[in-house]
Amino acid sequence: MSIVKKILHYTRAHSIYILLSLICSAISVGFTLYIPVLIGNAIDYMVKKGAVDFVGISGILVQIGIFIIVAVVFQWLAGNFTNIICARTVRDMRQDVFKKFNRVPLSDIDSMAHGDLISRITNDVEAVGDGLSQVITQLFSGIVTIVGTLVFMVSINLWIALVVVILTPLSVLVAGIIGKLCAKSFREQQELQGEISSYVEEIVGNQKVVKAFAYEKRSQEEFNEKNKRLFKVGLKAQFAGALANPSTRFVNNIVYAVTGIVGAISVVSTFMGTLTIGGLSCFLTYANQYTKPFNEVTGVLTQIQTALAAGDRVFRVLESENEPDDSDKSSPESIKGDIEFKHIAFGYNPEKPIIKDFSLSVKNGQQIAIVGPTGCGKTTLINLIMRFYEVDSGEILIDGINTRDIKRDNLRGFFGMVLQDSWLFSGTIMENLRYGNPSASDEEIIEAAKLSYAHSFIRKMPDGYNTKLSEGASNLSAGQKQLLCIARAMVLNPPMLILDEATSSIDTLTEIRVQKAFKKLMKGRTSFVVAHRLSTVKESDVILVMKDGDIIEQGTHNELLKLKGFYEELYNSQFSDMG
């Protein structure tokens, strides 16, 4: 489907307005078009000195007045309907793009530049809306104008009308050629804008690192390089787009001149039917009106081309594949928390498997610790349990049900999760803590904050629990953010818990206290804990020791120490180096 069709498809939901807009502009244009006939008639009543039919003229003037009122009112209505169509189409498109962000597999989000996606939902959708509004305005009134003027011209003089009809496609041809020529530049232009916004997002978003490395100058150079490319492409696109209008106007001016000559001659010689001076005057006005839509469409060619290029980018997001639909899957209300991994294998890149053949059975209430050197695939296991990524083979069962047969949202709802990268949204601390459990009371939230030792620093914030966090919570330290995430998970009160380096940025004293709180919370609930500080997982029921994607050892702390294997090595490395 072409981009145009896809965009039009989007306006469908508002087809009633499209219809209204079309009717209103038809009425408005129709009446506007008839006015020159009336003016021509009026002029014909002014033959010469002493031979002016005042009665006839007054009648016509009243008619003109009525026609204007009708035309103007409907024009205003049509304009409003067009606005409504565009504003709502843009709104729908934005909402859909945003929803798409939450429907595509997580791997898509991980692998795309966020700044570019942001540019699509703001800049590109906006461009589509601008283009659409131009097209609707010009197209509707344009078609009606062309048809209407043709009718009027034919009714005045068939032959001269033919001259006009035969000549004008020339201007369409010219505009078409120019449009084709510049489509590529417009595409490149939108792409580059996406690139620039990713760059800004990355550099400005990580200003601390940029400053620490005194990288400002070099990032400026890199930016300038992109900016220069945008200038080149932009200049090409803009100029190509701007070519169309004067070119079509030129063609149309010629049409006008030829019409004038032919018309004047026919008045004199009457060889192509009869024509009065008044008739010629109004014919010329029509010739002008007839070419106007061609002029105007090419006048906004830049916007149309931009809209097409932008639409392409928007639809590429909208058409990316969703996570498979799971509305027919089961949604168990509650679970015990038995988890079984059966021969699972997985790799982010199927050719490079990270987990090869992993099996484990977890009874409800057990605490499973996952330890091992960095980059060995600990987080991967979490990604699979939560179904952020799907296993390549094998299956994960919860209470004997394959997780693939449970609705994703339902499955994820069973887990409280605290990740190493603390994510909080811009809102008050209270809103953030209530995130997973909207029904939690203020008291419950404060209780959870106390348990997670976040209460004391929250109280010190300027507005306490109502302190607004900035985007990315840059006004908090990493440790404070982590404490808030822990409190958030506690408010959720989930049947199972995942802690992925959840306490890595917290001081150990606080950590020990938080661990205690967790232990209370986790009594009888299954939990997965990824950790480096082995001291924090010593008491786990099962410790999985991972290395290079494989579980190489598993057992309790004491069993593993007795093995005198990799775990023992890891454990001792914490203590052996004191100097």
Partner: protein, 568 residues
């Protein structure tokens, strides 16, 4: 808009020639009705076919000349608008680079992205359209007015009245719609913010099954944006009908009074035709102007948003005085009675004084929120100390240029961020001309054992590496170029102990490096020459591990929480 004019100063020639070309084109167009009137009055009425054909060629000639000058103008308008837009983007990016954290946090990254794209686009469109149309339209109007005066002075009064009336309508609509356009751009900021948040927190959002809530928030903003657009649209939809109504009312008046004048022999019917067509010309020009007004309102709303960023001044600025020479034998870092608070609030740091000697290993430890990272921020001058002095090599950091200050320090921030590109491009951040050997050496020190190819692709933020891998790459990035001071801000958190130990030992082996480690783990800094213990923004202890165990309760408590009694 006016305030951004400095970006146009290199385009004076284009700014003058471009619109002049358009003017010339307009002048040519003005002749067309005149020629047609001539054809009617001289050709048709006198039955002169040759005259008709001869004069008929004139409009074609005029059109050809018009096309060529119009093309010149189009090029100049494209060149100027794109050029100025490019300059604004460049300057804006540069200005953003000078802003300190405080300001950047206030404005927010998404708002800066929309300014960089959507707002600058609006300004660009503004410049181009202004050059193409702004002069042309008024000129056509003035031309038509003048011509009408020549035809009949009395009837031209109608022209003046109509033009003034239309002008008033345009002005009114523009001033009324300006605030709406500002609101529209503001909503775009909001949408960008929600999108950015939704993308960066996608994992958590899905984990909490909060997609619906996020979507509802976006829906609300998109809906309210649609509402504002519709409202401002209702205003601008008035422009065309109003213009039509006024122009055609004028035509009625012309016909009415014109009829009398033809009857009295004062005018010919050809004159009336010409007057009507001049009025149509005014109408068309006014409609162009009306559309331009919409664009201009949008552009100036965007321009004022861009200006607001330009007018934000950085709170931390570089000293303009020449740098003093390094003081011999001065400590690497010295804090002298430093106090710091963000804004009005309580002090984050108080009474901080200490010295860090050259080539020493210093550990900074303390509970979450005790001010460790703030302390580092003062060395790097992300913020300025509220009172007291921070010195590097005996020089107050305020007197050093950013490049000299930060260039000497290799920092590994808490959050390990890599930038999209390759491993090499990331490794060249500290020292842009580092050779591969240097990079590999740094990778070796940082215990990076998973990189053989420096051209390996790095996704935005380093998403294609695990947390621990990212952390080690960030450490390597700071080591490249052998800075004299290396600061690790809790940079071991994703590393296991074995890796951490090997890494620390490798750094300590390098010569001429002052090494500062901020951490939660006492095992990381037990061997340090000096340990600083922070609590609640105050320095609670200073000394070696052994000394502090005896003298500092806070420190002993931390160690006890992590190590067995025997290990102390």
């Amino acid at each position: 808009m006016y305030k951004l004019r400095r970006f146009l100063k290199d385009y004076k020639l284009q700014l003058i020639v471009g619109p002049l070309c358009k003017l010339f084109e307009a002048v040519l167009e003005l002749f067309v009705p005149l020629v047609m009137a001539g054809i009617i009055d001289n050709g048709i009425l006198k039955n002169d076919k040759d005259y008709i054909i001869k004069m008929g060629l004139v409009p074609i000639l005029l059109a050809a000349v018009g096309l060529s000058v119009a093309l010149v103008c189009q090029y100049m308008a494209s060149y100027t608008s794109q050029g100025a837009g490019t300059k604004i983007r460049e300057a804006l990016f540069k200005h953003i680079g000078t802003l300190s954290h405080k300001e950047l946090d206030e404005i927010g990254t998404p708002a800066l992205i929309t300014r960089m794209t959507s707002d600058i686009n609006a300004v660009q469109a503004n410049i181009a359209m202004t050059m193409r149309l702004l002069l042309r339209a008024p000129f056509l109007i003035i031309g038509a007015l003048v011509m009408s005066c020549f035809i009949n002075l009395w009837l031209s009064l109608i022209f003046f009245a109509a033009s003034a009336l239309i002008g008033a309508v345009l002005y009114l609509v523009m001033t009324k719609s300006l605030p709406f356009y500002k609101a529209v751009q503001g909503k775009l900021d909001k949408i960008a913010l929600l999108s950015r948040e939704n993308l960066s927190g996608n994992r958590v959002i899905r984990a909490f099954s909060k997609q619906r809530a996020q979507e509802e928030a976006l829906d609300k903003e998109a809906e309210s944006l649609a509402k504002i657009s519709t409202r401002v649209g209702r205003l601008s939809a008035l422009l065309n009908p109003a213009t039509y109504a006024i122009a055609y009312s004028a035509v009625i008046l012309i016909l009415y009074f014109g009829a009398g004048k033809v009857n009295s022999g004062e005018m010919l019917s050809g004159d009336i035709v010409a007057l009507v067509s001049y009025m149509t010309q005014i109408l068309l020009a006014m409609i162009v102007l009306a559309n331009l007004v919409v664009l201009l309102s949008r552009g100036s709303a965007s321009a004022s948003r861009i200006n607001a960023v330009f007018e934000t001044k950085p709170s931390v600025t570089e000293s303009e005085k020449p740098e003093p020479a390094a003081v011999k034998d001065a400590p690497e870092v010295e804090f002298k009675d430093v106090r710091f608070s963000y804004g009005e609030g309580d002090s984050e740091l108080e009474n901080i004084s200490f010295k860090i000697e050259k080539n020493s290993f210093t550990g900074i430890i303390g509970p979450t929120g005790s001010g460790k990272t703030t302390l580092l921020s003062l060395i790097l001058r992300y913020y300025d100390a509220t009172s007291g002095e921070v010195k590097l090599n005996g020089i107050n950091v305020r007197e050093l240029s950013f490049g000299n200050l930060r260039g000497k320090i290799g920092v590994v921030p808490q959050k390990s961020v890599l930038f999209s590109g390759t491993v090499r491009s990331n490794m060249l951040w500290q020292k842009s001309d580092a050779v591969d050997e240097e990079i590999f050496e740094a990778l070796r020190i940082a215990q990076v054992d998973f990189i053989d190819d420096l051209d390996k692709y790095v996704a935005q933020g380093g998403a294609n590496f695990s947390g621990g891998q990212r952390q080690r790459l960030c450490i390597a990035r700071a080591i490249v170029g052998s800075p004299e001071l290396i600061i690790l801000d809790d940079s071991f958190s994703a590393l296991d102990f074995a890796t951490e130990k090997a890494l620390r030992n490798a750094i300590l082996k390098s010569k001429n490096i002052t090494f500062i480690v901020v951490t939660q783990r006492c095992s990381s800094i037990m061997s340090a020459d000096k340990i600083l213990v922070l609590e609640d923004g105050k320095l609670k202890g200073e000394g070696t591990h052994k000394e502090l165990l005896k003298s500092c309760d806070a420190y002993r408590e931390i160690c006890l929480s992590q190590l067995k009694e025997a290990e102390l």
